[in-house]
Symmetry: C2
Subunit: 138 residues, 2 copies
DNA sequence: AATCACATGCAACAATGTTGCAAATAATTT
DNA sequence: AAATTATTTGCAACATTGTTGCATGTGATT
């Protein structure tokens, strides 16, 4: 719903614009993560490359999306679930990247196991990146 | 030791050259991970940028170093411990990235917890990226 | 020492990301 | 509803990062 998207933007004190609405829509449709290039393709060059970069940056800052670490140098973004934005939890994520089709899944229902760090280290965030073959490619 | 480094290279069927020796040395000195840019700096532009790219690629292929997933778009590399090259284990790594100084630590002594994936997903590799404040910056 | 295979450097290119600024659009005020 | 203000966008220019082909140089092999 357009209205829902507008609400999300306003809640983060962002102006409701065409590009932001469209990009948020894309994230809601995609049930995986998106890279900058994906967004460029799926918007048919309606928006400037720079605008997309800035929109993604803004969304990350506002906690609407989060980045997913990858072993190659391709940054991917995914929608944050509610817990992300409320901040009432450690920023923990489990992601699965398919070696075959490249799709990135957010496994939100899986909790990140506790990790005991050496003395002197303080944990702020933990990401688990599992790679292998996904359910569509097996 | 130069000899030890030469041994590592020969074992992987690689010619022993200046750049490879130097870059391997850097990894042994650094007790963290290195990015391409770090290596460029620490070699004082003695080697071409392309050579460094290719050397890193080769090292990854031969299992001498491995990449570390990061949330920003900076690929980092770290030396593989013996288990990496022998291949007798899952490719699992726990890394710690300091938000303050940016140093990346390989926490080899910490084991990656088992993660139960949804049906249809097959795990090949798992990386845990913990970020926060390291022992030097606390 | 000569040959062969491989590694390197250079040049050129491609992709990705950043910054400043003027024009356009959204939000706010009157 | 129009005018003002604040914010966002697009363009241009640039910076960084990574890739490829090819001639030259160096390490390995005989």
């Amino acid at each position: 719903m357009k209205n829902e998207i507008a609400e999300i933007l306003k809640r983060s004190q962002l102006s409701v614009t065409g590009s932001r609405t469209k990009i948020l829509e894309l994230f809601q449709e995609a049930n995986g993560a998106l890279a900058h290039a994906d967004i460029e393709k799926r918007t048919d060059d309606s928006y400037d490359r720079v605008t997309i970069y800035r929109t993604l940056q803004t969304f990350v800052e506002k906690g609407i999306i989060h980045t997913i670490p990858t072993a190659d140098n391709s940054v991917r973004y995914a929608l944050c679930k509610d817990e992300c934005s409320t901040g009432h939890h450690h920023d923990n994520h489990v992601h699965f990247i398919c070696d075959d089709c490249g799709t990135t899944y957010c496994l939100d229902n899986i909790t990140v196991p506790e990790i005991t760090l050496p003395k002197g280290f303080t944990q702020k965030r933990a990401d688990v990146i599992v790679s292998g073959i996904c359910k569509n490619c097996e």
